[in-house]
Symmetry: C2
Subunit: 268 residues, 2 copies
């Protein structure tokens, strides 16, 4: 039965686990197939064509497990490849950009929204488009932060870390100057930096793209009568394209709990 099928989630690597974290909290009875493309991480500095090609390969992998819906748990892939994926695959697709942009517009009072993200996400213009579709009067200020993913992936995200402070100050200062009252963490790696960002911008509301995405997924599953009505805890399986050991070691940071399933390395 279709309701019992797993939800497929993919990201370039570890970041998407912050989306899985919300997903498990909100829908503990759903089965999940996660794919992290660790052999080709990071996506954020690559070209549109390459990101689209990689994203479609990621979805092809998930489809082998007969997933009932796909969550693009990577802002870069969502921004660059969402339309292509929706056209190519006949199943519900939920991204992270749209839900986060909608939430930001709804909570912002002065309608000045900042977004920190990868170079590719800035280039796509996806956040501006998604926010203006909700409210054309909103102003969106995007800022590429290419060093944040390497910092987080190397365990540097504490608000006490001097390097984190200097880099965040540099990235956030222009957004602060624009007078934003809401900031979207527009990369699924960034929730780990939430405290450090809040320290830098104490009066700004912070939106994590993953949390907003899970709300949208829930609505979509309800609308399509795809919500799993089981009362059993969901089964979660994790796949990566490289270095299962490294993924396992760092997963807890992103997932907020230890991995509840084995990680398998596959070639895609």
């Amino acid at each position: 039965m279709k309701k019992k099928q797993p939800i497929g989630v993919f990201d370039s690597g570890l970041g998407g686990l912050t989306v899985v974290k919300s997903l498990i909290e909100q829908m503990p009875y759903e089965d999940i197939i996660y794919f992290g493309d660790t052999a080709r991480v990071p996506y954020g500095g690559r070209s549109c064509e390459t990101i689209q090609a990689y994203a479609c390969q990621d979805v092809d992998f998930l489809l082998q497990y007969d997933v009932k819906a796909v969550v693009i748990a990577c802002n870069t892939a969502d921004a660059m490849a969402r339309k292509l994926i929706e056209q190519r695959y006949p199943l519900p697709v939920v991204g992270v950009v749209g839900p986060a942009a909608q939430k930001a517009v709804s909570v912002s009072k002065n309608k000045k929204i900042g977004v920190i993200c990868t170079r590719a996400t800035v280039k796509s213009g996806a956040y501006e488009a998604a926010a203006k579709a909700v409210d054309p009067a909103v102003r969106v200020f995007t800022r590429a932060c290419p060093l944040l993913v390497p910092l987080v992936e190397n365990g540097r995200f504490a608000k006490e870390d001097k390097v984190v402070q200097i880099i965040l100050d540099e990235y956030l200062e222009p957004l602060h100057r624009e007078g934003i009252d809401t900031l979207v963490l527009g990369c699924t790696h960034y929730p780990l930096l939430k405290d450090a960002v809040a320290q830098c911008l104490p009066d700004v509301q912070i939106i994590c793209s993953g949390e907003a995405s899970t709300d949208t997924l829930h609505e979509m599953l309800v609308a399509n009568d795809l919500l799993n009505d089981s009362q059993d805890a969901g089964v979660h399986r994790y796949f990566v394209s490289d270095d299962a050991a490294g993924f396992t070691e760092n997963a807890e940071l992103f997932l907020g709990r230890s991995l509840d399933g084995a990680v398998q390395c596959v070639q895609i």
Copy 2:
């Protein structure tokens, strides 16, 4: 005639251009085919199997241009895949690890050598093995520096940059404590950090792996009667697997001159 054929050089991305820089300076009459695997950069945190697979695909690409020799201008690929490449391909192969290790042993007085490099290069043990093959009494201290490639790729390498100073201090302090008198910059991205490293370790001799490699290549070409005896300036062609524009934009930093050939994006 075989002498007239180009030299093939590959790297995961831009770093190998520091090797091309030495190559052009020392052998201006040689033709060069360069391949940077920018669709899958960086290699330094990936598994041995993945690095070997990528490196062989890189060599396969170069062979289409009938290269007379291959330069592995990436310490990570050299450390992990050198033996495999030598076994699989019947042509002279020059790496960066061996020549740099030999040079370090020859200049070190106290026989305590430091190496900064990627995680994969540390894991391979290639520098220890290469140095001890020359002098078993030498002591080699390797240190993985995973943030240096992202910093350099984002244009942060100036010795005045506070972030560069903090990160280098952290990485180099344990090597300084061991009393090294010689340090190998064991990643082809690191020559851009030479001044910042020298500021951190003022009494230590610094070896750039690319320069040592070019000396070895020259010897090998002479030994195999493959040196191009033309008096004309060599033709240099550059290929990447993603984002030719980004590569072109940053190439000058690594090459020390503007690119003298067009960059072509190819699928491998």
